[in-house]
Symmetry: C2
């Protein structure tokens, strides 16, 4: 193992499609990227078999665990009894510094709970967030939205922190020097929306200059896939509903597109001729390419891959994890949040006891 290699910790057991698919995704990444290595967590016998088959044994270290967190286990239960699971072990490899980023296809709530207690929150962060990539009209093809489901509520201070964490993510994940940040609301006029949104609006606007980002103000749901913003800030309830609504809409439309082409013999013939165009479309809106929700605000980076991700999806999540590991993203985000917590946040209304009281920085 070369000293320049980047090590990713993989929870191989949690996905809907099982460890074979996770290992297949690892193999795709290993082939594409000679600098990536893995610590793989799960059933040793089963993992060895798949890893041998894919010919990536020299790139992997297996850490055996007996248990698996299922998709329907409650986070509170996993927090108390999850110690022997592949998910816990995968997070602990980041905690111990053996790996830089953890990737899991497992139960989102449980993964966040385990990550919270094992990695702990970055000083200054009250609520961690999950950021997702959203297909958009921007040159990169994606926008970042957070929170999409770490927590069902967020007050004005949380929304400011989300803006700063999203800023750090957009800089390090997308090489944007001056990202544009928008706050999701039901209208773009300043008098619209909930009370905490109006306060957050002013706080984020005030933070823009010092932190060198462009604040575009309130945006609406229709702006999420636009080229007006790079980072969309919202609470985890709204963000989660928006994300799943968009997925549902995309599924409805592709289903109807299929029906339209299956309608008659001439339309089936047209579909054959249109095949390259439709494949081009499919590739451009392929959700697997945007696979990977990133947990932000913890001492260590965790990438949550979709539970039903196939090998391409897992490989996309690993690629994202690698980029973030290489950029030193975790440390930069912590520094960004800390600078604002110390400098400006106490000017905001309703200041709260800083969460730094709970512990010193441990990165």
């Amino acid at each position: 193992m070369s000293s320049s290699d980047t090590v990713i910790s993989i929870d191989a057991m949690g996905g809907d499609l099982g460890p074979a698919v996770v290992v297949a995704g690892m193999a795709m990444s290993a082939k594409a990227n000679p600098e990536v290595r893995f610590i793989v967590h799960g059933d040793k016998d089963e993992l060895s078999k798949h890893i041998e088959k894919r010919g990536i044994a020299d790139r992997c270290e297996i850490r055996h665990t007996d248990d698996v967190v299922t998709m329907h286990e409650k986070p509170s239960h996993v927090m108390r009894h999850g110690k022997g699971t592949s998910m816990w072990s995968a997070i602990d490899a980041v905690r111990a510094g053996d790996a830089t980023v953890c990737v899991s296809c497992g139960n989102t709530g449980a993964l966040m709970a385990v990550a919270m207690i094992r990695l702990r929150k970055v000083p200054g962060v009250n609520r961690p967030a999950i950021a997702c990539l959203w297909p958009s009209r921007n040159p990169s093809g994606f926008n970042v939205m957070l929170d999409v489901g770490a927590d069902i509520r967020a007050d004005q201070d949380d929304l400011l922190q989300y803006a700063l964490m999203g800023l750090s993510y957009a800089r390090n994940g997308f090489d944007l020097t001056r990202p544009r940040i928008g706050l999701l609301n039901v209208g773009t006029e300043e008098h619209k929306g909930r009370a905490e949104l109006k306060v957050a609006h002013e706080m984020i606007e005030a933070a823009a200059e010092y932190n060198d980002f462009e604040y575009v103000g309130f945006i609406e749901g229709g702006d999420i896939p636009s080229d007006r913003v790079d980072v969309i800030v919202t609470d985890g309830f709204t963000g989660n509903v928006a994300l799943k609504t968009a997925e549902g809409t995309a599924n409805l439309i592709s289903g109807r597109l299929r029906e339209a082409f299956l309608y008659s013999l001439p339309s089936r013939f047209a579909a054959l001729l249109a095949y390259p165009s439709l494949q081009r479309l499919k590739k451009r809106i392929d959700p697997r390419q945007a696979n990977g929700g990133v947990f932000l605000g913890l001492n260590g980076t965790v990438v949550k891959s979709h539970g039903s991700a196939d090998a391409t999806g897992v490989s996309a999540a690993i690629k994202l994890a690698f980029q973030l590991a290489q950029s030193g993203f975790g440390e930069k985000l912590a520094a960004r949040v800390a600078s604002v917590t110390e400098a400006g946040q106490s000017e905001g209304p309703a200041p709260k006891a800083p969460t730094t009281a709970k512990g010193k920085p441990n990165t």
Copy 2:
């Protein structure tokens, strides 16, 4: 004018495309439906010209107004100074009983504000709601979602009322005898979501039997366009974001579909052959066919057409208004809400002073 005719009150001035397009939509409806008549509100000279041109003068009564509510006027301003506008006059025709339903393409917030003060809330309703039609996999092609933006908040009592109002709407607008109602949340498990959602979950479940609907429980964003539900209940903030996000997603995908077909000469040729299929798709996901948000919970029905609706869109909104007028929807909704306010709502947690204290039923 025959006694069986249904009279629709039209605010002809509020839309983005002006009165010519509104009158064109009226003409489409008049041609398709011999039983519909209009009271049209706005500038008399301009309206006469368009109405003459379309040959529907015998189906229209014009009520002249000098003013128009613009898209950016604040609702509070319109409430105080809106008396001489076409919007105010259009609502007042319903208040006076001259028309059964009002249709407007104007400023949503202002329209709701004017409707609230002129028509007043149905006894037992705390917050009126806007219900929209959502393209879905159901046989009718649509689901109903509410609230999509009348109010940015809703507590458990409001959510129960939304369920009952949506029930009434689905029965009268879609001829569904036993609609399936779902409550929008970030997961389907009972322990998920905000506190008021968990309480509303139990209240709606308890109301299902007595009101003869099927409660399917919590649903997620991905279920909105599905065939699992007929009515989706949520607060106006979440509903508005979900609606606009779906529109944005649909726009993104159709833009990319166009790009995929414009890509090369062969793909352009394929597009020509695929044209009938693509037109079939376009028709099935045409948002103009689902045009018309309905204000629920007021003494009188108001249909809000999209501000940028073209003649086809306006005509779809008029068709919906006609159906609701014919079914006697307003009275049925009031009776539905009243029965539960009297019978069961006090069993729910945190009962509030009934809003009926403000005034007797005035329908």
